[in-house]
């Protein structure tokens, strides 16, 4: 019911929205909840377990009941709280968890069966027959459970993440937060003031208090205007600080009420000091049937009335145990709304206005199916039934301590406010002000905010002034009332349908620890994370176990304070944004030639270069292998890591990081190197060239480039600071291309300013060459077994060089080759990659143990000599070929003795790399086989259950082609 003249915005424009298909009108400044209440809509949802009718309980982000879904298609957004959802023209909202309709929900049958569905009942049944859990019980439970639904369509909204830095982060812009921010900012501190609402002011917007001699909302507007005008202040509305993390880091979720721009923004705020001014949350009372629509928090009734001009009922009653709730009656009467009675459990309750006060009264029952119609009140005189369509309840206020618990802080029980207050120094450099700290009057909030703002400013060596406006300073009078005896269920967790008896049953079954009770009953595990119910539930548990509340303890509040969408915290990750994409200089040329680009770590590399006549990738691959074996092929190898190493001790350094020796390498020569981890296993391999007396260029595999660089830094800085050496990655500076095949030199000589010959450029040599005046590096190395070079030019020339190399190669009967052909070429030669050096492999396993020089110390040397790493029963590298040439081989297959069953006990090894060798005309592979090198010629069974392959293979040397290496040298 809208009350004319009430509300903060008397000139609000009307907005049209729909809820469950019906169209309504609300006003600018409404939340969906206030607009629904204004239209008399009470039933807004169904509870989780029993599907009981639910109405709006609160006016904030702690709302457990009024969860709705908005939007259609990819924009469908479930589980939004109607109490914080700002109304906009055209908003379409739907209720959740009800079928066929909110009013007639078939699953409400659960409520009738509820005596058999007590806490934890499911642990005691659904066990027979065994297979029925997955087939029958669980699907039914799963369908019934859940709240809203996702659309199943990929997100199309924008989300973003931002970093912010400040001196002081003030969390909450109520009276204490405003004062803390003002006091610190006026002194010169860099301040961020964040509030989860669309409007600053906190409770001052929902109450009728004066501050500084003017209405609270006006005072707020003045202060906010002053803050907004300061350069050192950032105001953040609709921003909920969701988590407190180490060293002054906070997460915050900003709702951007904008179409076209980002939907939400997740902030990472770093501050020197934080001030928690998050206020307090009013708690319900556990009385019988306290969950009907129309029963809501007393403070929420005032919020809707004073802030939105909406009365949630025509005849309102109040049930409370404290003075504060009486204001609800006073405000309602002032607005012309009937107040049936104020039922106060205290026999000495004071009266604050012209309403009927029932002292020492208790609500012991309620009536009304889809909205409350009556309440039954026990008084000194007996039981009275009061007709009412809204019951405003208040069991007192809980300081919002959540953020103070995010770093393992425990709140303390406080007898004065009958609730938990933040523990001392729970979060380093965080102060707590206002009602979050248990200060319950407006003046106390203003004062504590100002004083803490000043403290913080002084901590920053500033000179603050404390000026506090006048305000009400009523004492906080409350008497404990956790539950009311009577017939009917007394609900604690409204969403998860946990009532007092559930908690008592948990205690009876020895789930007496508060954590056990929570997990057994699901109390506090709903979307409000127990904000509305935990303290009452604790009190019930304390009573049931004969302990006090402080001894009972409390569960831990964990981040986030309010639910945060995966979209917001994962902003930027969608699609390719998850990790950077690295493109080689030949990328476009490869794409232009139709090459499928495949991921190699962060890089993209061409898989193969198809010709129009080819129908499968294998056709292309075989042709490209032929280029290299018969003419010349060109391949971009820029993705390999390249590290420039210089210094007087560069040689000694390399001797220490490689297991073999580099100090003996001559200038302008290249050597294969094997690098171990300190635990004796192979880290990486590659070639390193000596390009000057104290100057080397190391190559790493594409996969391990980053790891090797980090490792070198570690060794140089931490283990061998005695060695004077410097290194830098030059992977990005050089575009490098392999030119492989018998016509490689011929091709090169069409490109180079000065031709080369075999004498100057023998196998494993390197040096500087010139191409059209551009200085380049040439390495005569081969990963294909052919006469081959790698030519490196500054990356700006990479695209140009690649196109010219390929054009030249094509003129010689060759062309570009991709990763598939590269892989075949290297398997034919028995060269290893990370398919073989997969982290569990030693030099011994590779047959390279002779490379581990015993003349010097090096990383991994000592550990590689462990007996277990040299045992003959280890699996060692071998080649494999099918006995029947047509036999199929697959990588990942396991190896078994001929005739042995393919079971673990008989496992002899596994296959790491396989290809069809066009050169040899059959499949070939490499793998690791127990005692492999001593079993050459043996027949072994390759079994791949995954691909249904079983092939008899012959164990052979892993070098299938040109075993003496004459082609590479020639």
């Amino acid at each position: 019911m809208r009350i004319a003249g009430k509300g903060l915005n008397p000139n609000a424009k009307p907005l049209t929205f729909t809820f469950d298909g019906r169209t309504y009108t609300g006003l600018e400044g409404d939340t969906l909840a206030s607009a629904l209440l204004a239209n008399g809509v009470r039933l807004v949802g169904r509870s989780f377990k029993y599907h009981r009718p639910r109405g709006i309980l609160t006016a904030g982000s702690e709302e457990p009941n009024a969860l709705v879904t908005t939007g259609e298609g990819p924009a469908q957004d479930p589980n939004q709280r109607a109490t914080t959802l700002e109304l906009y023209d055209g908003l379409v909202a739907r209720s959740q968890n009800a079928w066929p309709s909110l009013k007639y929900d078939a699953m409400a049958i659960n409520d009738i069966a509820s005596p058999f569905l007590s806490a934890g009942f499911y642990y005691k049944t659904f066990m027979w027959p065994q297979s029925f859990w997955e087939k029958l019980y669980e699907p039914i439970i799963r369908r019934a459970a859940g709240l809203g639904a996702l659309s199943g369509q990929a997100n199309e909204d924008l989300y973003e993440k931002v970093f912010a830095h400040c001196d002081v982060l003030v969390i909450g812009a109520g009276p204490s937060g405003i004062m803390a921010a003002l006091t610190a900012a006026r002194a010169g501190a860099d301040v961020i003031l964040a509030d989860e609402s669309s409007e600053y002011g906190g409770r001052l917007l929902s109450e009728t208090f004066d501050v500084g001699g003017q209405p609270g909302a006006n005072w707020v507007a003045d202060q906010i205007a002053e803050l907004a005008a300061m350069d050192n202040v950032r105001l953040m509305s609709r921003t909920t600080v969701t988590g407190a993390y180490d060293q002054g880091t906070f997460g915050a979720l900003e709702q951007l009420n904008a179409r076209g721009g980002p939907k939400e923004c997740f902030w990472r705020i770093v501050c020197k000091h934080s001030v928690l001014c998050a206020g307090a949350l009013e708690r319900p009372i556990a009385f019988p049937n306290n969950d009907r629509p129309g029963i809501m928090m007393a403070s929420a009734v005032r919020s809707y009335l004073n802030r939105c001009g909406v009365a949630p009922g025509r005849t309102v009653s109040v049930f409370c145990n404290n003075d504060d709730a009486h204001r609800t009656a006073v405000d309602l009467i002032d607005a012309g709304v009937d107040v049936a009675a104020v039922i106060d459990s205290r026999t000495d309750a004071p009266t604050m206005g012209q309403y009927r006060l029932i002292k020492g009264g208790r609500v012991i029952g309620t009536k009304g199916r889809h909205r409350v119609t009556h309440v039954s009140v026990s008084t000194a005189e007996g039981i009275e039934h009061i007709s009412t369509d809204c019951l405003a309840m208040s069991g007192g206020w809980n300081p919002t301590v959540h953020l103070t618990c995010h770093m393992n802080g425990r709140p303390d029980w406080n007898d004065a406010v009958l609730s938990f207050v933040p523990g001392e120094n729970a979060v380093p450099n965080m102060s707590v002000a206002g009602s979050a700290a248990g200060h319950m009057s407006t003046l106390a909030c203003l004062t504590s905010g100002a004083e803490i703002g000043a403290d913080v400013a002084r901590g920053l060596c500033l000179s603050p002034k404390v000026v506090v406006p006048t305000a009400e300073d009523a004492p906080y009078r409350i008497e404990a009332l956790w539950q009311v005896e009577g017939k009917g269920r007394k609900w604690l967790d409204f969403q998860n349908d946990v009532h007092v008896k559930d908690v008592q049953l948990a205690a009876q079954e020895n789930f007496r620890s508060v954590e056990h009770m929570k997990r057994y009953t699901t109390q506090g595990m709903a979307t409000d994370q127990g904000k509305n119910s935990n303290v009452q539930a604790l009190a019930v548990l304390a009573d049931a176990t004969g302990r006090g509340i402080p001894d009972t303890g409390t569960t831990t509040f964990r981040p986030p304070y309010v639910p945060v969408s995966i979209g917001a915290m994962g902003a930027g990750g969608q699609g390719k944004g998850f990790a950077p994409e690295r493109l080689t200089t030949s990328h476009q040329a490869s794409v232009d030639r139709g090459a499928p680009m495949i991921e190699a770590g962060l890089w993209y590399r061409p898989s193969y270069f198809p010709k129009p006549t080819e129908t499968t990738w294998l056709d292309s691959c075989n042709r490209e292998v032929g280029y290299v074996r018969n003419a010349v092929g060109v391949c971009d190898v820029s993705t390999l890591g390249k590290i420039d190493i210089q210094g007087p001790d560069a040689a000694a350094f390399l001797d220490f990081v490689y297991c073999n020796t580099f100090s003996t390498l001559k200038e302008n020569r290249v050597r294969y190197g094997l690098m171990l981890r300190e635990d004796g296993h192979v880290m990486d391999d590659g070639t390193t060239a000596r390009i000057g007396p104290n100057h080397y260029v190391m190559t790493t595999t594409t996969a391990a480039a980053g790891q090797v660089m980090t490792h070198l830094e570690w060794v140089a800085q931490a283990l061998r600071p005695d060695l004077n050496v410097r290194f830098a990655s030059v992977t990005e500076h050089w575009a490098q291309f392999a030119i492989a095949g018998s016509k490689a030199r011929e091709l090169l000589n069409t490109m180079l300013d000065d031709p080369i010959d075999d004498d100057q450029w023998p196998f494993m040599s390197c040096g500087v060459v010139s191409l059209g005046g551009v200085s380049a590096r040439l390495f005569r190395i081969s990963f294909s077994g052919e006469h081959a070079y790698e030519l490196a030019v500054p990356a700006r020339f990479g695209a140009s060089l690649f196109r010219q190399l390929v054009a030249q190669a094509e003129g010689m009967g060759g062309g570009a080759y991709g990763m598939e052909a590269l892989n075949v070429l290297r398997i034919e030669k028995g060269f290893i990659t990370h398919a073989e050096i997969h982290g569990r492999i030693t030099a011994f396993d590779l047959g390279l143990d002779r490379l581990v020089s015993q003349k010097k110390d090096c990383i991994g040397n000592a550990a590689s000599r462990r007996e277990g790493l040299l045992a003959p029963q280890r699996e060692q590298l071998v080649g494999l070929k099918p006995v029947d040439k047509a036999g199929k081989m697959t990588a990942g297959a396991h190896l078994f003795g001929n005739g042995a069953d393919a079971v673990s006990a008989n496992d002899q090894g596994y296959v790491t790399s396989v290809c069809f060798s066009p050169t040899l005309g059959h499949s070939i592979g490499m793998g690791f086989l127990i005692d492999g090198p001593n079993r050459i010629g043996e027949r072994i069974q390759l079994v791949d259950h995954m691909r249904d392959v079983q092939t008899l293979c012959e164990v052979c040397s892993p070098v299938f082609f040109d075993p003496d290496g004459g082609r590479a040298r020639g």
Partner: protein, 417 residues
Amino acid sequence: MGYSALKIIKEGLFGQRGWKPVWRDPEPKSEYDVIVIGGGGHGLSTAYYLAKEHGITNVAVLEKGYIGGGNVGRNTTIVRANYMLPGNSEFYSHSLKLWENMEQDLNYNTMMSQRGVMMLCHSDGQRDMFARRGNAMVNQGDDAELLTPEQVRAEAPMIDFDNVRFPIYGGLMHRRGGTARHDAVAWGYARGADQRGVDIIQNCEVTGIDIEGGVVKGVQTTRGAIRTKKVAIVVAGRSSLVGAMAGLRLPIESHVLQAFVSEGLKPLMPGVISFGMGHFYISQSDKGGLVFGGDIDFYKSYAARGNLPMKEHVMEAAMTLMPSIAKAKVLRSWGGVMDMSPDGSPIIDKTDTQGLFLNCGWCYGGFKAVPGSGFSYAHLIATGTHHAPAARFLMNRFRSGAVLMDEEGTGSQHNLH
């Protein structure tokens, strides 16, 4: 007291008054045959199998807080037997078989749900590695299927196949894998052990281990000294601290692993999906919450809470893999303390002290091991010999280098497993 549907109906009609404590809260006795330090999943299952399999019932489980309050109560509830290396393979295979009969064995519904665990692969090389793993699983007698991208799409249509940063080359499906109700596992074993006479003693912190002449004599606790000839340490997350009481310096670092749960949603996830390139895995609980996690926070910590960068990384992985869950809202995140070992595999072994046993190093994979670990540990404690499926979980493997079980291939750096 047996649990059954009939019993539930009877109690429903008579006000639930007949339910008894699921386990007792006895005072500690002055002496036990075996003291199990740690009332987590592994400790409780150890006590249960000591009683059930070996008839050793004069056993106390000492828990410093409340039972099931450690990693068994804070994990992503995944159960699987998809290991590759000898040692792990046979152990998890055995453990999975125990899972499959757990409810009937315990008369407690732990909601073991075999909806499948699917690991996605993102390159030819990874697919071949998955094939090797899948073959190892089948060789061990477990189930595995290598799925084509089309088959993955049919299983998990919410994956963004067209735009994901690391495309889906296929998957390794392990249909007998799935999830279970984590707390219920602890409670079920507690109930089973208690019914067989084991004393479960909560709020009883061990402060010292009494050793004389290389022989265990008992423990000191916050509730007094207790004598025993056998002490079984099984305190994941705190192994180094309890081990130090017996003079052990363990190959363990404690690291935080975070996990996340969203608000309840109508069913959308088929089973468990794991996205290796993003260190992201996800399933959906029976209540409808998306349960997901990622990698450890990478720095050693006992704080049981994580930091923002890893949370963001996990959510970004979710967004690239399945952007249809963008509007699922994270309700709660938590961090558990993991025993990270130098090869990523656990230790179930005797120590040099007579009567002192050690079970630790489960990294972030301890939940699925709960039944197998308890079974094998109980075997070792009762018989003094290693149970065959766990016979390779020996502490000296690091020194010798023999039978390391480094599934990730990342080497001796604890936090990389």
